[in-house]
Chain length 638, copies 3
C-alpha cells in the first residue's frame, strides 16, 4: 500500500469563501485525506433537535470535489452548552470530588446513560446523512478518549454503573469481599449498594477496589465507543477509527480497537518530550527540537498492534504546540522525518494537525501548515517534500518482526494503583525494554495478551505484566523461542492478590522471597556490568542464575525457553539481556548510535537520524534530522 | 516639597493610657504622620448599627494634639463577624470552588452588592464625623486590595455581576461567541446566562473567557474603590489614597488611581526578596538582609505614575516580618537606606509599619519601631536618623526621566492566562528591562497606555504589551525618539485573538512566522554577546536586523524610530539593547556596580549602596547599606 | 524483668485449620505474646447487634493453649460499613473541607458522640466476654491514634464540640477575644457560636485560634481513649495499652498515657528513614537498609517516659514495608539489632508486625515473618536468634539517665501553626539535641512538663518549649544542676501571645530584641566553631556570653544553673554545648563514631552498630549491623 498524507481541517472556523482555495492548496501540497467535523456539534445542532447540516454538506462537497477523501468525525467530544441543560448530571467528577465544568472539551462521563443516547443519536443522524456519501472515506468516532484525564469519573453516574458492573462481575457481595480481601481493615460490605468509589478515603483504598474501578472505567470507554460504532456500522461501508493520544494508558486500546477498523494516534514528538517523558536534562536538551528518538516508534508499533495491522497518524505535529510546559519549534527536516518514520512503521496515512493555525481560543498558539493570516508556515514545505519522497519510496510492505513485547494496559492500572516504590511505572519499564531492542537495531512488534500470533517470535519480552494466567504463559512460550518475564511479571492475580504460586517463577521452580524498591540514586550492580534500579525481586530456587547481583543473589534466572529478570534493568543491563537473548535465539543485532534508529520492512530499510548532526553508520551517512531509505527486493504487496 | 515620615498605629490594641506617650515619642522620633483605623471596624461598630466612635474621637484628638497629622482608614478590609450574618453570601470563593471563610482579613467579594452598600455606609459615617476634623489630613480607603489573592472570586455574586458586565461589553451573545472564537470546541452559548466562570473546566478554558473575567474582576475593584471615594469626596477636602501591595498585578492600579489623589504602597524589601522575586541563590544570598536593589525603586517609579506624581510609602518594613518563607533582619542602615531611596524617587511621606510590635494574633512576629514590651527596636534609631537626614537634604524635586517603560496590568492577565512557556511572566520581563536601565545608571519613568505624556522621552521600552492599538502605537512613537517593542508586544487583540497584522511589526513590514518557548536551561545566543531565553519570536520581513541570533534569524529588528526585540533578553542582551538605544538617542549612561544604584532628580543625585560592603564609584565612596546624596543647583519647587 | 518477643496475628485472615500450627510455630520461634483482634469488627459484629464472637473465642483458646499470652485489641480503628448507615456524619473532614470516606481505616471523628458510644459499647462487650479470660494478658485500645493525619477533623461534630470546649476554657466570649487578641483585624466574636474552625480562611487564621483548636483536638483523643479505658478497667485486671505511631505529634501522648498502663509504639526504621526524617542524601544512603541510628532510640526513650517506665514495641518492622516512598529490605542482622536495641532502652516486649504477610488488600506488600504462601521470610530466623540472645542477656534493668530532654507536644502544635521560618520544626530541633547527646555516648531520658522527676539530672535541655510557666521553670531548675533553654523557649503564652517578660531570659536579665529566620543555605557562625541555622534569637542584656556569634551578638548566654541558646544549633554547635554542659556538671562523655551508639542500663552496656561495616571502638569490635552487650554487676531487679 502506498502511504498517503492527510490534514485536519475546520471549515466551521473560516469563511466559506476560503474553502475551495484551501482544498486546492491541500491537493497541491500532496495531501489526499482531510479530517473534519469532530468539534462542530454546536454548528451541526445549535439547539436541541435543530439540525443545521447544510454547511457541512457544502464543506464535504467542496473538499471532495477537489479530490480529497474525507474522514468525518462524530462531534461527541464536545457536547454543546445546551446539552448541560438536558443532562445537568452528565459532567464528570474528579478524584477530589469536584465537578469538571463546561468550557473546554471532553466534559462528559462515559457512564451517563443520557449522554450515551445523545451520542448515539448524533452518530445516527450523521451516518444516515453521510454514510453513503462517496467523499466520506472513513469515520472518526469522538476524539482522543482519555485525554485530559477523562477516562475516570467519580460522580454518581459512574457510581451507579460501577455497582451494576460489580454485580455482574462477582455475582454476590460475599464473592466480592472474598476476592478483594475486604476482611483486612473490616472493609466488608453486605450489599453492592454499600460499595463506594475508591476516592477520598482516609488512607489508600483497597488496591483490589481501585483496580476493579479502573477495569470498569476502561470498559465504559469500550462500551461508549461500541455504541457509536454499532450505529455507524449499519449505515456505512467506510472504515471506522479513533484517534488515540500518546502515552494515555487509562483504558484498554486493544479492546476499543476490536470494534474499529483502523487505529490512529496523535503524534506530538516535541510536546511529548517536554510533557510526558522521563529523561535526564542532557537527553531532553539533545532532542529538544526533535522529540525522543523512540517515543514515536513505540506508539507506531503499538498502534499497529491495536489496529491489527491498519493504522495512521491522525494528528502529526507540524511546528510548536501550545500545551507542553515549553514549546520549541522542530528543527528543519523533522516534520518530514516524523512523517517518513511513521511510514517506515506501516502508517497508511500521516495527517497533519492542523491546516491553518487558529487565531482564537485555546489552541491559538498551536502551529499549522499555514499561519493564522494564511501565509505558509515552515511545515507546509516539509509536507510537500514528504509527499514527493513518498512517491519515490513507493509501496512499503510490513512484515512480522523477530522480537515482540507483550503490552498490557491493565498492568499500568495495577502498578499505578500500588507502585510500591515511587520510581516504578509500567510505561517506563516497557519503554526501557523497547529502547534496548531499538538500540540493538531491531524492529519490534507489540502483542496483546488476547491476541498472540501463532507465527512465532525469536523472543518475547513481557516485563511487568501484572497478571499472567497459565494459559497466557503457555501461549507466550509457544509463540516464541524464548520468553523473558520479569520484573514483577505475574505478581498479582486478577483481583489484586498475591498468587499462591507465581507464574513464570513456578515454571522455574523459584519463588520471590521479598521485593525491594529503591530510591532513584541507588542501583544494585550486576556482575559483569549493568545494574537494576527501582525494583528488585529477591528470588531463590532451582533455576540457574544467568546473571548475578554483586551480593550473589540472582539478577536473571532461566532454564531453556523461560527467563526471569529479577529487577528493573538500567540501560546497560537491558543491553546485556538483549544480547544474551539474541545470541541464544540467533537474532542478528545492528548496534545503533545515539539518536540513530533502524526500521526494516519487507520492502525497505529505513535509517532515521534524530540527531542535529549527520551520522555515519555502517558505510551510510545520514543527514541531520533526516531519513535514509534503502529499497530491498520488494515482495508482493499483502 | 520636603519629604516627611509617618507611622502606622493601632490605638485599639493598646490601653488608652499609653496613647499620649506614644504620640509624644512619635514626634520625638521625627514622625509627623500617623495612620490609624483601617482594621478597627469591630470596635467602631461592635454590633450592626451600634456605633462606638468615642474612643476614635479621643485617639484622633490625642494624636492631633501632639502635632501629628492623621491618615484615617476606612475599615472595609476587615468586616466584623456580624456582617456574615447579614450577608452570608458575601464571602469570596476560590478557584477550587471553596468558600474563603471569616477568620483573617479581606473576606469579601468585590461584586457583592450588599457588602458594597455596607462599605459605603461605614465610609459615609466616618466621612460625616471626621471629614472636616482638622487633624485628619488624608483618608485611606480599605487596605491592600488584591492581597492574599483576593481580586478574583468564583462565587455566585461574581457570576451574576460577570454576566451583566459581559452583556454590557458585548451587547449580544453572538458578538461574544464571535469575539471569543467559541466555535472552537463547540463552546458557543445562546444566552449570557449560559456563561459560567472560567474555573474547574476539564482542560484549560478559552483564554478569551479568562481574560474577560480578569478584566471584569479588575473593574470590580475599581468600582468598589470608587463607591467609597465618591462618598468621602463630598465630605472632606483631604486627599484620598489607597495602599497598594508590592507585585500585586491582579487589578489595574492606574484605573483605581484615577479616583484617588495619592498612590501609596507597602514596601517590604526583605519579605519580597524571599517571597516574590525570581533570582538565583547567589543573588538572594548577597541581598538577604537588604532586599533586591531594584525591587523597591521599581515600585516607587510605578506608583509615581499611578499617583500622577503624588505618592508615599505607606508601610515601610522596619525589621523582620512574619509572612515570608524566611524572615531575616535588615542589616544596620537599611531602614534608613530604604527611606531615603523612597525620597529619591519622590515619596512625599515614608511611613513605618508599625509603631509597636503587636504581642498577639497573626502578625505578632512582625517587628515594629518598638518591641511588644515597649523597648526601642533597632529601627527606632534609624527612623530618627532618617528624620535628621531629611532635614539636611531639604526639598527634593522630581523631573521627567529621559527613558520610560510602558506598564500594562492587562498584559499580566493575558500572559498568566496563556504563558505558552512556563518561564514567561510579564512582571519578570518588565523587571528585567527595568534592571537593565538601572544598571546603566538611568532614572526611569513608567507610563500607562492611557496616560502617555506629550513631553517626549529619549526612548520608551514596551516589552510584552499584550494589545497595542494603532492609536497607542502612534502615541508611543510620538512621545519618544525611539520606541522598542517586543518580545510578544501586540501579540493579541483585546479579545485574545491573534491579530491579522501585528502592531509594531506591521510598521516594520515584518511578521512572526512562529513563536518558541524554551526550558530554563536553554538560551539562544545573539552574535556579539547576550542571548534570548524563555521566548523567541521568529520574525521575517523587510526590516533591518540590528542584532542577529546565531542561526541567522533576527534578534532585534528596526527602522528609524521603531525597534522590535524578537526574544526575552538575558541581562547581557538587555545591556546591549540599552546601549544601542542610548547611543542612538544620545542618552548618557552611568554604568553601575553590582548593588549600587543611582537616582537623579531635579535637585539631587542619590547613590544608593545595597551592598554589605562600601563601594567606590566615580570618585565617590558610598558606605555599606548607605546613601550618598549630592545637592544639585536646586530649581524652584513645583 | 526479662524481655520477651511477640507478634501481630490476624486469625480472621486465615483458615481456622492453620491457627494451631501457626501458634506452635510462634512458640518455636521464641515468641510468647500475640496481638489479635484490632481490625476485626466486621467479623465480630457483621451487622448491628449481630455479635459473632465464637471464632474469636476459639482463636484465643487455640493461641492460649499453645502457651501464648494474648493482647486483645478493641477494633475501633475500623468501624464496619454498617456503622456509616447509623452515623452518616461520623466521618472526619479534612482541612480542605472534604469528607474522608469509608474504604480504608481510621474513618471517624473523635468528637462524634454517636461513634464514641459505639466504641464504648464494643469495648464493653469485649471486656465482659474476655476481661477475665486467663489468656488475655493485655488490652490494646484502638490502633495508632493520629495515623494518616486523623487527629484533627474540620467537620460539624468537631465544630460543635470545639465551641463547648472553648466555653469551658474561657468562660466568656470577651475573655476569649482578649486572650486571642481578636481585636487585630476585627476578628472579635460576640458569641461562642460565631467561632468557626480555623481552616479555609482567606489568609492565615489567628494562631491563638489554631493552637486552641489543636489543644482541643488532642483533648478529644484523650477523652476518646479514656472512655474505652474506663469501661475496660472495670472488667479486667490486665494492663491497658495503646500502640502509638512514630513521629506523630498531633496529640499529647503523655496525657493519653496517663489513662493507660503501658505505652507501646510501632517501629518501622526503614520506612521512617524514607518517609519522615530530614537528612541529606549521604546519610539516607548510608542507612538506607538500616534506618536512622537515633530515630528508634529517640522513640524508645520517649515512650519509656509516656509509659512511666513500662513500654513495648508493639509493631517491629521485619522486612520491607509497603507504605514509604521507597521500600528496601533490612540488611541481614537488622531485625535482631532493632529488637535488642529496644531491649537496651527498656522494652518489656518486642512484637513483630506481622506473623504472615497478607496476600490481599492494602498491606499485601508488607513483609511478615512468613511469606504469603507460608514459607519463612528472612526475619523469622532473626526473630529466633533474638529470642536466643535474650535468654543469654537475661534481665535488663533500667536506671535514670544523667541527662534529660523536656519534650512537649503542644510546642509542636504551636510552631507548626506559626513556624516563622520554613525550616523551623519542633521535632527537628529536639531530635538534633537528642542526636548530640547520643553522639557524646550519653543515655537520655525524656521528661514531660507535667511529670518532672524530683531526683535530679546533671543537665536538662529544653529547646523550643513554647510556653514556660514560672512554675515549670522552677521545677526544671530544681530537677537539674543545669537547665539549658532556647532557642525559642518560652516565646509564647498559653494563648499564643508574646509574654511581657520571657521565662528563662528574664531570669538572666536579658530580652529578645528581634528574631530572625534563615534560608537553609545560610548559617551564622559561632566563634570557635559551629553555627546556628534556621532560627536566631537576637538577645541583649546582663547575662554573660558563653558563646558569641561572629558579629559579636550572644549565641549562648548563661549564669550559674541557667543557660539560653540563642539560635538553632547545627551539629557542631550542639556538640560544643553538650561538651560545655558536661564539663560544668561533671558528666563523662563517650564520643561515638558515626552509626555507632551506646546505651547504658543498670545491668548492661549495649554498643549498637548501625553501620554496614564493623567498627572498632574503645577496644571493642562490633560487627556490621550488630549489637555488643556487656554485662555489668547486676543490681536487684526493680
Amino acid at each position: 500500500m502506498k502511504p498517503e498524507l492527510g490534514v485536519c481541517y475546520y471549515p466551521e472556523h473560516w469563511p466559506e469563501a476560503m474553502w475551495a482555495e484551501d482544498a486546492a492548496r491541500m491537493v497541491e501540497t500532496g495531501i489526499s485525506w482531510v479530517r473534519i467535523g469532530e468539534f462542530a456539534w454546536s454548528r451541526m445542532e445549535p439547539a436541541p433537535g435543530d439540525l443545521q447540516l447544510d454547511w457541512l454538506d457544502r464543506a464535504i462537497e467542496t473538499l471532495g470535489a477537489a479530490g480529497l477523501r474525507v474522514v468525518l468525525g462524530t462531534p461527541t467530544a464536545t457536547p454543546p452548552r445546551w446539552m448541560l441543560e438536558k443532562h445537568p448530571d452528565m459532567l464528570a467528577v474528579d478524584a477530589q470530588g469536584k465537578t469538571r465544568k463546561f468550557g473546554s472539551r471532553r466534559h462528559y462521563c462515559f457512564s451517563h446513560p443520557g449522554y450515551v443516547q445523545e451520542s448515539v443519536r448524533i452518530a445516527r443522524i450523521m451516518g444516515e446523512r453521510y454514510g453513503r456519501n462517496p467523499h466520506i472515506a472513513a469515520w472518526q468516532i469522538d476524539n482522543e478518549y482519555g485525554c485530559h484525564d477523562t477516562t475516570v469519573s467519580y460522580g454518581l453516574a459512574a457510581l451507579h454503573a460501577f455497582r451494576l458492573w460489580l454485580k455482574d462481575q462477582y455475582g454476590s457481595i460475599d464473592a466480592l469481599n472474598e476476592a478483594w480481601g475486604n476482611i483486612f481493615w473490616a472493609m466488608e460490605c453486605r450489599d453492592f449498594d454499600q460499595i463506594d468509589l475508591p476516592n477520598l478515603t482516609v488512607t489508600e483504598p483497597n488496591p483490589a477496589h481501585v483496580l476493579a474501578f479502573r477495569r470498569f472505567s476502561s470498559d465504559q470507554v469500550v462500551a461508549y465507543n461500541k455504541a457509536q460504532a454499532d450505529v455507524l456500522r449499519a449505515l456505512t461501508d467506510a472504515p471506522l477509527l479513533h484517534n488515540y493520544m500518546g502515552r494515555v494508558l487509562d483504558f484498554d486500546h486493544f479492546k476499543v480497537g476490536e470494534d474499529l477498523d483502523i487505529a490512529t494516534w496523535d503524534s506530538y514528538p516535541i510536546g511529548f518530550l517536554s510533557d510526558r517523558l522521563e529523561a535526564d536534562e542532557t537527553h531532553k536538551t539533545a532532542f529538544l527540537q526533535q522529540g525522543d528518538p523512540d517515543m514515536q516508534a513505540f506508539h507506531h508499533d503499538l498502534y499497529r498492534a491495536v489496529g491489527r495491522g491498519r493504522w495512521w497518524v491522525m494528528e502529526q505535529q507540524p511546528g510548536p504546540v501550545n500545551w507542553a510546559p515549553y514549546n520549541p519549534a522542530p528543527l528543519p527536516g523533522m516534520v518530514k522525518l516524523w512523517s517518513l518514520e511513521a511510514v517506515a512503521h506501516g502508517a497508511e496515512v500521516v495527517s497533519y494537525f492542523r491546516w491553518r493555525q487558529a487565531p482564537f481560543a485555546q489552541e491559538q498558539m498551536h502551529a499549522g501548515l499555514l499561519t493564522p493570516n494564511n501565509r505558509p508556515a515552515p511545515a507546509l514545505t516539509e509536507a510537500k517534500q514528504t509527499s514527493d519522497a513518498l512517491s519515490e519510496i513507493g509501496n512499503v510492505v510490513q512484515t512480522q518482526a523477530q522480537v515482540a513485547i507483550l503490552f498490557d494496559y491493565a498492568s499500568d492500572w495495577a502498578w499505578s494503583t500500588q507502585p510500591q516504590g515511587a520510581g516504578f511505572d509500567y510505561f517506563r519499564l516497557v519503554f526501557s525494554a523497547y529502547r534496548a531492542l531499538r538500540r540493538a537495531g531491531l524492529s519490534v512488534d507489540f502483542v496483546s495478551s488476547t491476541n498472540i500470533p501463532r507465527v512465532g517470535y525469536k523472543f518475547i519480552l513481557a516485563p511487568g505484566i501484572a497478571t499472567v494466567s497459565d494459559n497466557l504463559e503457555r501461549q507466550l512460550v509457544e509463540a516464541s523461542d524464548l520468553l523473558i518475564l520479569g520484573p514483577r511479571s505475574g505478581a498479582i492475580t486478577h483481583d489484586f492478590q498475591i498468587p499462591r504460586a507465581r507464574p513464570g517463577l513456578s515454571g522455574l521452580n523459584c519463588d520471590v522471597d521479598l521485593v525491594e524498591t529503591l530510591p532513584p540514586n541507588i542501583r544494585r550492580s550486576v556482575e559483569g556490568g549493568g545494574a537494576a534500579q527501582h525494583w528488585i525481586d529477591r528470588v531463590s530456587g532451582a533455576a540457574s542464575n544467568l546473571l548475578t547481583f554483586a551480593d550473589g543473589t540472582p539478577a536473571l534466572l532461566g532454564e531453556n525457553r523461560l527467563w526471569y529478570l529479577a529487577g528493573f534493568p538500567d540501560d546497560k543491563l537491558w543491553d546485556r539481556v538483549v544480547e544474551m537473548a539474541a545470541r541464544k535465539t540467533e537474532v542478528t543485532l545492528y548496534p545503533m548510535l545515539k539518536g540513530l534508529r533502524r526500521r526494516e520492512t519487507a520492502t525497505h530499510v529505513f535509517l532515521i537520524n534524530y540527531n542535529a548532526q549527520p551520522v555515519a553508520w555502517n558505510g551510510d551517512v545520514v543527514d541531520a534530522c533526516d531519513v535514509a531509505v534503502t529499497q530491498k527486493d520488494a515482495p508482493e504487496e499483502e
